[in-house]
């Protein structure tokens, strides 16, 4: 279902560009004039103090802001060159391109198997064998197969929190996204599960673009190739991780990295 890799002759790489993005909750100006390019097939970490709009930025990427009351979005977000807020944009397609990993694992109220199969079934995949193969492949991708292969048809809520989060990852991968979004994906997990999730995310960036919101600076250092620093809704600094961590250009960035502001 990953239809992106078939074309070898210069097909434009999946690439997210934000142009003058402004988001308002009612009269509250949450994101102020954000313009940035998120590089392809790398892990980008969005960092910054809490309440600064990191999650809003993430949710604007897959148009989850649409379901909130009183939200206004201005500007453009281009994915593969097309504005996802444009008049001809098809929301379900856009969302499908991006898998979302929430902070608290959100397993659907069904069995492990049905959780993974949920997305593909909705998009029309039929046939027991095809689904079985799909479920197995994606559980293996998330490093979960060995642990759950004996209880595929039991309720997903019976898994441990760490297993649930990996299940959500597998579930998101099963619809064939190109981009993976993570909203503090390990902050609710124990250290061991966090490690596993980080490892999987690192493996995934070979084929997917990964964008992760995190408030754990050490995590950003571990996994990020590219850093975006938000403060109070403004884009303060962004660039390759090595540069930003070694030589932050903006004083605020420096202050945040050294722990003066949090």
């Amino acid at each position: 279902m990953n239809g992106r890799n078939g074309n070898g002759n210069g097909h434009p790489r999946s690439h997210i560009s934000l142009r003058n993005l402004n988001v308002y909750y009612g009269r509250h100006h949450v994101l102020k004039n954000i313009s940035l390019d998120i590089p392809d097939r790398t892990t980008t970490a969005i960092i910054g103090p809490s309440g600064c709009g990191k999650t809003t930025l993430l949710k604007s990427l897959n148009r989850l802001l649409d379901i909130e009351d009183d939200v206004r979005v201005e500007g453009e977000i281009l994915v593969d060159g097309e504005d996802i807020y444009g008049p001809r944009a098809e929301v379900t397609h856009i969302r499908r391109k991006m898998g979302l990993l929430s902070q608290k694992p959100q397993v659907l109220p069904m069995s492990v198997y049905d959780n993974i199969a949920y997305g593909p079934r909705i998009h029309g995949l039929r046939g027991r064998r095809k689904l079985d193969l799909l479920v197995e492949r994606h559980l293996k991708m998330a490093g979960l197969w060995d642990e759950v292969k004996g209880r595929l048809h039991q309720p997903a809520s019976e898994l441990s929190v760490g297993q649930q989060q990996r299940l959500c990852l597998a579930r998101g991968l099963a619809v064939g996204p190109e981009i993976i979004l993570g909203d503090e994906p390990t902050s609710a997990l124990d250290p061991q599960s966090s490690q596993t999730v980080e490892r999987v995310l690192n493996e995934l960036k070979r084929d997917y673009t990964v964008v992760v919101v995190t408030h754990i600076l050490r995590q950003a250092r571990r996994i990020a190739d590219y850093i975006v620093f938000l403060y109070l809704g403004e884009l303060i600094e962004h660039g390759p991780a090595a540069e930003v961590f070694a030589n932050p250009k903006h004083p605020r960035t420096k202050a945040y990295l050294t722990g003066e502001i949090s």
Binding site: E90, T92, H93, I122, H123, G124
Partner: protein, 292 residues
Amino acid sequence: MTRGQKDGRLLRRKWTEAFFLVLMAASTIIVVLSLLLIVGTIVWKGLPALNLSMVTQTPKGGYYLGKEGGILNAILGSLYLGLGATALALVFSLPVALYLNLYARKSSRTASLTRFALDVLWGIPSIVYGAFGFLVMMLIGLRASLLAGIITVALLELPIMTRTMDEVVRLVPRELREASFSLGATRLETAFKVVTRQCLPGFLTAVLIAFGRGIGDAASVLFTAGFTDRLPLGLLQPAATLPLAIFFQLGTPFPEVQQRAYASAAVLTILILVLSILARVLVKRATRHVIK
């Protein structure tokens, strides 16, 4: 799947959603419309029947089938009954609501059993309260009267009032109670001086809701309060009530009498609407002032 198949499927999914959206909007309209229809019907029939003489006179000429006069007997009867029943229920509801939250421990069996009993009482149909009230009347030798009606309706109102008050007191943050205790106040003093004051709007709402329920109910007073053309004279005399006035007078073949029924319906409906709106306004004010 081919691209064509994919698009076709997407179209089908969108059309399914649109179909159900239409059904949902239609359902919502039906529900909202029914309220408007009901109030509209009552107003249409009742408003023309309402005039000064209707509201200030009692029926004349015959055992509530008289062709002249008004519905003052029912209006006053309902008011006395409602006030009496609500006051009686309040005497028992307030202490119970306070006890459940301030004295009993969270896990206490008395508290959960009492709450369960209140839920049970809340579900009992009003006709059963009426039948029970009738039983009690027979037992203690009370005739159909204002007092019997008050007792029965108080029973009806008790679970409603207690439950609402319970929910209101539950919202009081425990820090507030602790602050009061740490100043040396006893639990009783805390209860009455601090908590009650904090919950006053909520309590008022509970009283209004229960009152509205009490005066609107016919089945509970059917057996117990009797009916009469005259103004309520004493606790031991039968009393007219608006719901019964509607019920009895609508069933007669005389249009003048039916007019009185419509007028009663209009008065009752307007009264209940005003009470409901007042209760809502109070709830809004209560949540504004609540210390969080």
